[in-house]
């Protein structure tokens, strides 16, 4: 392989990695936002991604909606699911300690997966061809319109999220609660409302990822949320959990590392690569890429 071809291939793989990473990033955002607000690893988040994918599937396959209405519908359905879960399962246990909350989240995750297997059946389903595939060749770089769509939707949603968090009243309230929940409460912020909105936003982003995965990879099933969910969580930790830009960067890093390992080593080591990257980063920077070291006060 000539150096030119190698360079081209690396660029190609990095591009592929970025589009896979967008999916991780979208899911990771939900993990990181929820963690930032209530310090909970929301294990069921990967399954919300699955719920979103199925909502998108029914919207397009059964109700024949086109891409954007289906995307919005899936996001709304997932947001409602997320909010419901928070209200019934996490809110009652919020004061009981983090490990109890984590186990509850694991329970919710199992419930969504098994209810999915029961109701939706275990067999994978083919996602309808909402967007016909077109492949472009840009100077040797193979790019298809679905990858472009993933990037466009991901970046669009990220900018929207950043705008909400930075400039809207509820976004400011979210940041205040993330910073110091008790102080925010004393300042008159409705903490419960902020938590509800956080779950809604995070779940909607995961649903968007679910629909995009359905369109690009064509296959969805009730257990599809497990691995991406786990890796997205790793991505959130990688970037520095609780930090929104960290989740985005972490997601892209995960996607790129994974694709490069598959291209240049072997697909068998794909899943290990993500975790090796995680451990190396945690050992070098125990708080993640963008995390700030807050020493314990003695």
């Amino acid at each position: 392989m000539s150096p030119h071809d190698l360079t081209l291939q690396v660029i190609q793989q990095v591009f592929n990695g970025v589009s896979l990473g967008s999916i991780y990033a979208l899911i990771a955002l939900g993990y990181t936002m929820v963690y930032g607000i209530i310090r909970l690893i929301n294990f069921a988040h990967g399954d919300i991604f699955m719920v979103g994918a199925f909502a998108g599937y029914f919207a397009t396959a059964v109700y024949k909606l086109s891409f954007f209405p289906a995307l919005v519908l899936a996001m709304v359905v997932a947001a409602l699911t997320g909010v419901t879960i928070e209200f019934f399962a996490y809110r009652p246990i919020r004061k009981a300690g983090r490990i109890s909350a984590l186990i509850t989240a694991i329970g919710v995750s199992f419930l969504l997966e098994n209810a999915g297997l029961l109701i939706l059946k275990p067999d994978p389903r083919a996602f309808p061809e909402v967007i016909p595939l077109t492949v472009y060749n840009v100077g040797g770089l193979i790019v298809n319109n679905r990858q472009v769509l993933i990037l466009a939707v991901t970046f669009g949603l990220m900018f929207l999220l950043q705008w909400i968090v930075r400039y809207t009243k509820i976004g400011k309230a979210m940041r205040a609660v993330a910073n110091d929940r008790d102080a925010a409460h004393l300042m008159g912020i409705d903490v419960n409302q902020v938590i509800t909105v956080t779950f809604a936003l995070g779940s909607a982003l995961a649903a968007a990822a679910g629909v995009l995965v359905g369109i690009v990879y064509n296959r969805i099933d009730p257990l599809m949320g497990i691995m991406p969910g786990l890796k997205a969580f790793v991505a959130a930790v990688l970037g520095g959990i609780g930090i929104i830009p960290g989740a985005m960067i972490g997601g892209f890093v995960m996607g790129i590392v994974e694709v490069l390992v598959v291209a240049f080593i072997s697909s068998g080591w794909k899943d290990a690569a993500a975790f090796v990257a995680l451990i190396i980063i945690l050992l070098v920077r125990p708080v993640g890429l963008l995390g700030r070291n807050v020493g314990e006060k003695v």
Partner: protein, 332 residues
């Protein structure tokens, strides 16, 4: 205070009765098992209960006693299972030797994983142990000697109920002893407050690694038993879900309570079997029970309570007679 005292007394006697019934049941199982009258199916469940008891009690040492949140226990179990199985298949070592070798290999893995990751805290430690657990699994998938993703068949069936039972009892004894020693107290201190423990002369790093390695070794033992019961192992059996399953047992029993770990390992192994008649609904019911139990009793079934406390209280009361009323609660 009087009512509380009465309730405590009732609870102590009740736990005495429950323990007696439990031991009686265990004796009964041993007798019919010894006479060869036990159903193959139940025999299998009982062995898996013992394997899970070993896993839960050993993870409790790490998570509940030392407070180091680990979710990679299945990785250590896998190391023990594969090492012991391979030694059985290829070198035909005796069963006891392969179990010890499996434990040793898992313990070594505990050192390898523990030393770098135990510098991390809380969720970061959890995710790093999860990562190591997954890496161990992926390595097994990619090796030739392990049979890769297809699994490793042909392991000699050596784990019987009595062996599993004896080793579970041994595990409980050894880990309880450790917890009740000065070393166990140091581990508890690390859980409660690492900085304060260090200023009391406790080398926190050393105790964290110790708990991790001892826990890993027993997970390796559980893996060896499991492999020699199933006669076939594959990487899927030791995925992140197995780790989560054990974690759920520990938390549901009550983090830090050995009694709780044993109880919930037994219940949670048997429960899915009991629910088998509900077919597809089975796992839905299981996960709902999990959520409901957490909502109703977030501190776990037993909290940090141990059955030995009941005996100690009863004993003390017997010794002091009615003077037992001079209990701290009486004064407060």
């Amino acid at each position: 205070m009087a009512t509380q005292f009465g309730w405590k007394k009732i609870r102590d006697y009740l736990s005495l009765i429950v323990t007696a019934l439990f031991l009686l049941g265990l004796a009964y199982i041993n007798v019919i098992s010894g006479l060869g009258l036990i159903d193959r199916y139940y025999n299998g469940i009982l062995i898996l209960v013992m394997v899970n008891v070993i896993l839960a009690v050993s993870l409790n040492l790490i998570n509940g006693i030392t407070g180091q949140f680990s979710i990679g226990h299945a990785g250590f179990m896998a190391v023990g299972a594969y090492v012991s199985a391979l030694l059985s298949i290829h070198l035909r070592w005796p069963f006891a030797a392969v179990l010890v070798a499996g434990m040793a290999a898992a313990a070594v893995m505990g050192v390898v994983v523990g030393i770098p990751t135990l510098r991390l805290k809380g969720d970061y430690l959890a995710i790093a142990t999860l990562g190591f657990g997954e890496i161990i699994r992926v390595v097994i998938v990619n090796l030739d000697i392990t049979g890769g993703p297809r699994g490793l068949p042909g392991i000699p069936p050596k784990t019987g109920f009595f062996v599993a039972e004896a080793l579970a009892a041994l595990t409980i004894l050894v880990i309880s002893n450790l917890i009740n020693s000065a070393h166990g107290r140091a581990m508890l201190a690390v859980r409660e407050d690492e900085v304060a423990a260090e200023t009391m002369g406790v080398n926190a790093t050393r105790y964290k690694v110790t708990a991790f390695v001892v826990g890993a070794a027993f997970a390796g033992l559980a893996g060896g038993l499991y492999a020699h019961y199933m006669m076939f192992i594959d990487p899927k059996s030791f995925s992140f879900f197995k780790s989560v399953e054990v974690l759920v047992m520990v938390v549901l029993g009550g983090l830090g309570s050995v009694t709780g770990s044993i109880l919930s390992a037994a219940v949670l192994t048997y429960l899915p079997e009991m629910l088998r008649q509900f077919a597809m609904l089975r796992m839905v019911i299981y996960s709902m029970l999990l959520i409901v139990m957490m909502l109703v009793r977030p501190q776990g079934l037993l909290g940090t309570w141990e059955v030995s406390q009941a005996f100690r209280d009863l004993w003390r009361r017997r010794e002091t007679g009615e003077a037992g009323r001079r209990d701290v609660h009486g004064i407060a």
